[in-house]
Subunit: 462 residues, 2 copies
């Protein structure tokens, strides 16, 4: 009888477990049947592509990369608008909202996250207030922001989602205010000095920032529609608002089944992404993505890493392990390494990237650091169109191993983040970085790259 | 009395030793005086920028980044049109072509390379035949290719210099033929399958390639000017020709002084770039750049690495060691690591990069390899302007550590080469590459990068 895999959740996490399983499905002798349960109507949607759709780079429809039918045609029981309401790990069964019960040989929990919403917002119950967490949210925001008479936008949150929403509003010509706590923007990836560079860039695009310990005290409406927000004692006009103060792992289904949840609210897994009960792994139940906790690659503490890039790696590990067992090919087995959360985003033309720890995150973990910073053109100055990049590197003060990298610039950021991911993983030191040869062509690089300058700055040599 | 450093050679190598010394000059208590001897008239010229000037991206003048006066103003005895004719390491003296004798505390030999020219070319003594090794060469080529009636160009050599010359000719509208040996283009960095991709790209630009064991048997002229070349028994019209079959280290001065020269014709150095006599390092004489041999980072054999990128790292090591001694700060000391020669070039819009060993170079060193290759868009397919990249990775067959990377594409190549430089240096394996998280934003990357696909292809998982 075919082996049965049930995947709960159809975001990037669930979809990528599915895709990886399908790629080797034919190698499973007894056959492999996969059921995917998805609350939304759509197939594979690139949620990360939605902010760009709001900036009018393309239609929202473009972000649906595969329709459900694409997977159904491959023999998948791809159920949209379907919700799992109960898991029984003892009986290996999942109960659906339709009361139907599915048995599984393997269960994958990919229940994602739900955006946090402050009480003052929830209680106001006003039209024109949104989160930006999925395709449906994006469609609502798009419809609202393009209505006649829209003039003012408000964003609560200075993380990546908040900034992307603010950029979309500012691009549309709305007068946009962002409220976030101190000290600066994108604090999970950037030190304040780097976050301030992003802030200055966005201020030039007309976005106003309030980065203080000021509460959002009220949302005011007119006929049920948002008209203004009150921050501290200032009333700010707002026709549309996005709330983007982070998202909590969706773990109710798992925790109701007795599965362990950690201090950050995410499901705890072992190295191959098995969930646990009272610290013991459950060999046929996996979890991944926005609903799980990861081990940080530098601090070795548990934390969340709610990136698509984290989820796709975990999806590979899970598929490797299920397929390794089902095909009798242990060489397929792989395990998940501590997480460095490399990230990059295009924020209104400014590319912002980071990987590893910030100075503050290191301090909180008792790691003493030194840092170095440099700003430099990314190609020979006599070349047309050379733009500059600012790079900040964080090193362990004792070993000078690189622990973190932060950068803002107009090009090469994504690839540099990947380079530092390898460097951090490999324990490369500031001195090694400083004398490591780099590819050179004057149309593409500088003879002495900004990396060398930042490393020398940290070592006190520049 | 001020310490005296004499640098022989004013290419990138000499200039970067000079620049690094100047940066910390004030920390030398007794003072530091530097003399640089340069055969040419110019200051710091970016030789790597010359091919782009021939493609009309900018004027040749732009490639002179600093005039001699820039260094003279900093107290440097910057002597142009001056040649050293003898070194005495016992007496610590250099004799110039003017018979003047300079004493030194430290000597830096940066005598560069001279382009190889086959006898049949040298003997023909025709106008219209050039090498492309320095600014003067570029000016001659520029003047010649822009003359009235230029129709046909010929290039001998399928390395980077030859291809850059061919691209300049083809861009100008000349019917261009390139003669090189088998099997394909850029063999020092690319396997034949990758070299063939470059060849196809350039053939579309109208360049013809003859990649066979066919000799260049004659150059024919009319009134002393080149009119055609004979390849095997085919006569090919040629109004202008560039000879780019490589370059030999300029070591006559060094070898006349008893300094050791290796099997590849380059000066032998120790890890801090000291030259040697009969295997013993000379503590105050350094050499670097195109005239020295390096130890290969994979094969651990001696070879040449005639890249500006290699020279700038060596220049740092030499300056570190001179300054470490003169300032009494041993923390400045650094040493030169085995070389991986990361390289990149824009060849008519196609970016070509490589680092580490090719399959053939590994084979010649007795290293068994496996390889993986993949072609993929470099950002989400729904993004406007997504272009694709082909990546080939070479792994040690036994350990699956990455030993080499080769790639062609329209973007991200230089930065990816740097990433693989770190990965090779760190001994990252194919399995590690495959599950290493990479930064993702759909406007800048794919969720599953071509790197993952190439690693899986090598492991037989794709």
């Amino acid at each position: 009888m075919a082996k049965e895999v049930v995947i709960i959740g159809g975001g990037i996490s669930g979809i990528f477990v599915l895709k990886n399983l399908l790629a080797k499905k034919d190698e499973v002798k007894e056959g492999l049947h996969v059921t995917l349960l998805k609350r939304e109507k759509s197939g594979w949607v690139s949620v990360c592509g939605l902010p760009y759709a709001l900036r009018r780079w393309y239609e929202i429809d473009k972000t649906e990369i595969n329709k459900p039918q694409f997977f159904i045609d491959q023999g998948v029981d791809f159920r949209t608008e379907t919700e799992a309401v109960q898991i029984s790990v003892e009986e290996r069964m999942v109960t659906l909202d339709t009361s139907e019960v599915l048995s599984y040989d393997y269960l994958v929990i990919a229940t994602g996250r739900k955006p946090s919403v402050p009480a003052v917002v929830a209680e106001a119950k006003l039209e024109g207030v949104y989160t930006l967490n999925n395709e449906a949210d994006a469609r609502k925001i798009e419809a609202a922001m393009n209505k006649e008479g829209m003039k003012h936008a408000f964003v609560r949150g200075r993380g990546i989602n908040g900034l992307q929403a603010a950029v979309a509003f500012a691009t549309k010509g709305l007068k946009t205010t962002v409220l976030g706590g101190p000290p600066s923007l994108l604090p999970s990836g950037l030190d304040p000095d780097m976050g301030d560079m992003v802030k200055e860039w966005l201020e030039k695009k007309g976005i106003r920032f309030i980065l203080e310990h000021k509460p959002l005290t009220a949302l005011k409406g007119d006929g049920g529609r948002l008209k203004s927000v009150v921050v501290g004692d200032e009333e700010i006009p707002a026709d549309i608002a996005v709330i983007a103060i982070g998202a909590e792992p969706n773990t109710k289904l798992a925790s109701n089944a007795g599965i362990d949840v950690g201090a950050h609210g995410g499901i705890i897994t072992d190295k191959v992404m098995h969930v646990q009960r009272s610290g013991c792994p459950i060999a046929n139940v996996y979890a991944l993505g926005d609903c799980v906790e990861v081990i940080d690659g530098i601090t070795h503490r548990s934390r969340l890493s709610q990136y698509a890039s984290t989820a796709v790696v975990q999806a590979k590990i899970i598929a490797d392990n299920i397929l390794g067992e089902l095909t009798g090919r242990p060489e397929l087995y792989s395990s998940y390494e501590p997480c460095l959360s490399p990230s990059v985003a295009d924020i209104s033309g400014l590319l912002v990237g980071s990987v590893g720890v910030t100075t503050e995150a290191a301090r909180m973990a008792g790691i003493k650091t030194i840092s170095g910073k440099a700003t430099k053109l990314i190609k020979a100055r006599y070349f047309p169109g050379a733009s500059s990049l600012t790079l900040k590197l964080i090193f362990d003060a004792y070993t000078t191993k690189v622990l973190g990298a932060q950068m803002v610039g107009e090009a090469t950021v994504a690839e540099r983040v990947n380079e530092f991911t390898v460097a951090i993983r490999a324990g490369i030191t500031a001195r090694e970085l400083r004398t490591m040869e780099r590819s050179f062509d004057p149309s593409l690089a500088q003879l002495v790259d900004v990396t060398i300058d930042a490393a020398e700055n940290a070592l006190g040599l520049l």
